[in-house]
Symmetry: C2
Subunit: 340 residues, 2 copies
DNA sequence: CTGAAAGCGCTAACAT
DNA sequence: ATGTTAGCGCTTTCAG
């Protein structure tokens, strides 16, 4: 493989000059630069990022740790991050945990630590104190997307607020029996969003003078199938809710399906709202609280890149806005359910 | 950062021995090995893959090029590949093209060539002859997933056959007016599946003595929204088809939605079959031709890893089986549509 | 079973 | 503007 040395020999210059020319560094005459470029191209020169990394300490690579790539939300965040990273010449090392705790440990204990990357993006999971300490020791910029980790750089939405918006929308339509479908608040993967959303739900209920009912809260594990199961249960109750707030669109899709199976009309019999504005939400006319997903990936990537080119960086907490998107799965409760 | 040298000093041995011990190479006494391991751990030793790569020529990294990570199919293949790669201690470098031609060029022209990876996985796209030549020159194992590229290692299903299975199922139920929703056959990203599936559809029709009708073939771009648009069009025709074969489950979901909007019952008014067995297919009771998706990623990864540890490898063409999964979106055509 | 020494291909001072 | 000279941290002959 032709390397920098071959090019240097060919143009009869030192490897230092060639290196500078190739990297567009100042201090090289225009003429030399073009000659080097041309020669490199002609010889089929191929850089060795590994060697460059070893010599410079910069890998031009960032690690992205994701719980499940197959979930749309995470895939979209990755897409956003990859986009800006590629633009800036950085590569993306993907670590998919697949919900597997063992994988998680290996990633945090070995891979990431191996001085393989310049920065790390952690999606939606809150590293344990131990892992946080490890990441800290790495001395590399780390940004957490979609989780609230005080003291660390994060990019997320205000989950509490998003849940309030959704709940208030339902309340505003006149609903009083509102069910909530969420996910484990203390999952093994330590998301912070589920707890925050549940909290927002409760807060909005309280504003309306309502108190939460255990019977109206179910676990949908943030999956379509889980949402369906939860809704089947909720909607089969004799005193079924007039509205359901699913903490993610994917769970809401499951609710839609459950309603159909049970012969219930949405929104005539039951209203439904989600969070995300998933790519399929429009297809289903799902009312939802939209969050900028790819954008969170983009911002997170920009954030670590900025940190890399600064000598000192203070962890930024970026909170992106959400927006209520009213479509056709929410309406006033059926009159028969009125209790006024 | 503590390196191999620090460990060597501590155990009072040469770096060579430490290196061997750390990598479980033969020719190290058990005692030495455990002492090295312990010391390395105690000192917080962190390997430098970059340096190892430079010295050994092996990066223990494989590149995965994917058209769109946000599509379930690709995400699932990536998940499968990542799983086996991680097991074997390899890292995964993700290149998401996002349907962007410029990105594609940059990836094939620069990134991949930079001796950054030991092997490459290309998902569903058929590299151009030029790109193929480049990949060939790389001298690294390359496996293409989900596309048929003669002469190259591939892992895929028999798309033609899958389409025949789907079409025959519909024919077997008595359907004669069958519509097909597929995608661009000569797209910029050069997939081979769309053409093969269309071909299988035609072949199955021919077996039944039917000839294709242009009016019954539509483009759904392999997306939910595209499938919905295509179905709205097809199902609004006065002589609408009694069945629709969507070349992917995601397009089939769009069809389901279109049918609902148009007030048509599935399968009473129109039957529907897809391909994939998408994670949401079961939720919608969608009849489909299942293909092993994550498995294709796994096999592809295993294939390149096998090639890496062999001195000579012959490109293998692996074709994984598909399976008809009959659920509830297919039935005999409505009697009113009978034309016998 | 262990060690010495020569790089891998590049970058980064420090010179000139 | 360009060249010299050390490495970066590891692997890998080749010796012993």
């Amino acid at each position: 493989m032709t390397g920098i040395k071959d090019v240097a020999r060919e143009v009869e210059m030192s490897t230092a000059t060639v290196s500078r020319a190739l990297r567009d560094l100042p201090g090289v005459s225009e003429e030399t630069r073009t000659r080097v470029m041309e020669t490199a191209h002609r010889l089929g020169y191929v850089p060795s990022p590994g060697a460059a990394a070893l010599a410079s300490g910069k890998t031009r690579t960032v690690a992205v740790v994701v719980p499940w790539v197959t979930r749309w939300f995470f895939a979209a965040v990755v897409e956003g991050a990859e986009e800006v990273l590629r633009e800036r010449g950085y590569d993306l090392l993907l670590y998919n945990l697949g919900g597997d705790e063992a994988a998680r440990h290996r990633v945090f204990e070995t891979s990431l630590l191996t001085k393989r990357v310049d920065a790390v993006l952690v999606l939606s999971l809150k590293p344990s104190p131990d892992e946080l300490a490890r990441l800290e020791k790495l001395g590399r910029p780390v940004t957490v997307v979609g989780a609230d980790v005080p003291g660390w750089a994060t990019v997320r939405i205000d989950d509490d607020e998003a849940a309030r918006i959704a709940t208030r929308h339902l309340l505003g339509l006149g609903h009083r029996r509102i069910a909530y479908i969420g996910g484990a608040v203390d999952g093994v993967l330590d998301f912070t969003a589920p707890a925050a959303r549940l909290n927002g739900f409760h807060a909005a209920l309280a504003e309306a003078g309502l108190r939460p009912e255990d019977a109206l809260e179910a676990d949908g594990s943030f999956t379509v199938a889980g949402g369906m199961r939860a809704a089947e249960e909720l909607l089969s109750r004799p005193d079924r809710p007039t509205a359901i707030f699913a903490a993610s669109d994917e769970m809401a899709f499951g609710v839609l399906r459950a309603a159909r199976v049970l012969g219930l009309q949405v929104p005539e019999d039951v209203s439904l709202i989600g969070i995300d504005d998933h790519e399929m939400a429009a297809i289903f006319d799902l009312t939802t609280v939209a969050q900028p997903v790819r954008e969170q990936g983009r911002v997170a990537a920009q954030q670590v890149l900025a940190a890399l080119s600064a000598q000192h960086w203070a962890p930024q907490q970026v909170v992106l806005p959400t927006r209520l998107v009213v479509r056709r799965t929410t309406a006033a409760p059926p009159v028969s359910a009125g209790r006024t």
